[in-house]
């Protein structure tokens, strides 16, 4: 069986994914609302896995909620909190419950989150997790034992086109392609000239790439991200554009910028689609899509 998301990837259409973030706690109403809002507007929804190392309701639980509501889920899976046995077991469970897409991530470091004294596991890394999924698909676990019933996931990974220095990042990207990553979602990109260069290289590797679109909700946020968030570069002209509008209009300007970027990527057929991360402002994802003419 091929997942709906994989079908979309293979169809040649411009693929749209977005994300929902599980809550801290058991009140799932807001997450359900975001799922309902987005499920028919995007090809798949990533469900984050304790993003920024902040403990939350699990990605797997969020994926089941997406599935139950008729959406297509991409389970984000980090290597930070589970050893290889726990990762394998969760993959078996996810597959048995109809989750068919996985995004393999190493995961943020524990000390950047809200459980600063917890043990960071990292028994596997993102590349080894990708390979583990291939092995489980072939009907064997990491202990070399035969499975009674295998899995079949569309497994992807991430890449950071603006990483500095870029060369070590690209070597890892190539290793992920070789390991059979079926799609890549990128860290946020804002500079189309830089991204064009990255895509020239990625196209040679035949990697399917969904460009990361992170909504800039204010000039302050844009400035903070470019100065502090690893692998994010917001060009000065965008920060100036945001600064030029009154505070109350900044979000609308951010939506316009995101929409415009997506439209340009699509028009040029620069990549295979986009992954929209609204980070707490999931409500406006439909507005971003409208601004992009989608």
């Amino acid at each position: 069986m091929v997942s709906r998301f994989k079908e979309a990837l293979n169809s040649g259409k411009f693929v749209i994914t977005s994300e929902v973030a599980p809550p801290k706690g058991t009140n799932l109403e807001k997450m359900f609302h975001h799922i309902e809002l987005l499920k028919d507007k995007v090809d798949a929804m990533n469900v984050t896995d304790h993003q920024s190392s902040v403990m939350r309701y699990p990605s797997l639980g969020g994926c089941l909620a997406v599935k139950e509501r008729g959406g297509e889920a991409i389970m984000q899976m980090t290597c930070r909190d589970r050893n290889r046995m726990a990762l394998e077991a969760d993959l078996l469970f996810a597959y048995s419950r109809g989750i068919e897409n996985v995004l393999c991530l190493t995961g943020d470091a524990v000390p950047v989150g809200d459980h600063k004294e917890a043990k960071g596991v990292f028994d596997l890394d993102s590349l080894q997790l990708l390979k583990a999924i291939k092995q489980l698909t072939a009907g064997e676990d990491l202990g070399g034992n035969k499975l009674e019933g295998a899995v079949e996931f569309c497994a992807g990974a991430i890449v950071t086109p603006e990483a500095q220095p870029i060369e070590p990042q690209l070597i890892k990207f190539e290793k992920k392609v070789e390991a059979g990553a079926e799609f890549f979602q990128t860290q946020a990109i804002y500079d189309l000239d830089n991204f064009r260069k990255f895509m020239e290289y990625a196209r040679k590797l035949k990697a399917k790439v969904l460009a990361g679109i992170v909504l800039l909700s204010s000039a302050r946020m844009a400035k903070y991200m470019t100065e502090n968030v690893p692998g994010i570069f917001v060009p000065k002209n965008l920060i100036d554009e945001l600064s030029a509008v009154p505070k109350e209009n900044m979000l609308a300007k951010g939506i316009e910028i995101a929409g415009r970027t997506i439209a340009a990527l699509k028009k040029e057929a620069l990549c295979d689609g986009v992954h929209i991360m609204a980070i707490g402002k999931e409500e406006v994802v439909p507005d971003i899509l409208a601004a992009a003419g989608l």
Binding site: D108, D123, D125, Q169
Partner: protein, 214 residues
């Protein structure tokens, strides 16, 4: 190579000495002297602080190297003072505590926490260089250990948290994989970084670990 330690707070020391009033203090002339956590001066200082708390110090000594067999000799030499003590307060690293405990049944209580085994790269700057993982990768990583130098111990290249050659957990820390990349490039051996490294075996030598040399 040094065992890197930091002193416990006096509150912690006081707590662990609760009900133990006669104390013999042992420092170490090697690592804790170097790190100023358990040398002659720190032992004297500790003696003063404990006396201020109303403790009786039956004696003190600083063993040249508290982790080897000199410890037994030094403890024998100080037998009469140790005999009068309820407890030995160790200002050596945990290896010293272990060595002292081999020679005596009285409690040996550490006054320092042992952090890591470090190499002195520049005077006074110690860096953890080896985690004794039993599967040395240094030949493939240009001498930079990804197990100790990368916060996550990643063996297949950098994570997305690397930023201008620094680590996401601390802007002062170098990204191990940027260092590895630069050195491999300099050596003309970048193909090593393209190699897939399989998951690590965490039981290369089964814990608890020991070895008998024939």
């Amino acid at each position: 190579m040094k065992s890197i330690t930091k002193q416990k707070t006096m509150e912690e020391v006081e707590q662990s000495l609760k009900g133990l009033d006669r104390i013999f203090i042992i420092g170490c002339g090697t690592c804790t002297t170097m790190t100023k956590t358990g040398g002659i001066d720190q032992v004297a200082e500790m003696k003063g602080k404990l006396q201020d708390l109303g403790k009786r110090i039956t004696g003190t000594t600083v063993i040249p190297t508290a982790c080897d067999d000199m410890t037994e000799t030094a403890m024998k030499e100080n037998e009469q003072f140790i005999r009068n003590a309820d407890v030995i307060l160790s200002m050596a690293c945990a290896l010293g505590v272990h060595r002292m405990s081999l020679n005596i049944s009285k409690p040996v209580i550490p006054a320092v926490d042992t952090l890591f085994i470090g190499v002195e790269e520049t005077p006074g700057f110690f860096r953890e260089a080896c985690a004794q993982c039993g599967q040395c990768l240094l030949g493939e990583t240009a001498g930079v250990c990804p197990i100790t130098a990368c916060h996550k111990g990643l063996v297949n290249g950098p994570c997305g948290g690397t930023n201008n050659g620094k680590c996401e957990v601390d802007k002062e820390k170098d990204c191990a994989w940027t260092l590895i990349y630069n050195r491999l490039k300099e050596q003309g051996r970048l193909e090593l970084m393209h190699r897939y490294q399989p998951p690590r075996n965490h039981h290369i030598s089964l814990k608890p670990r020991s070895v008998r040399i024939q």
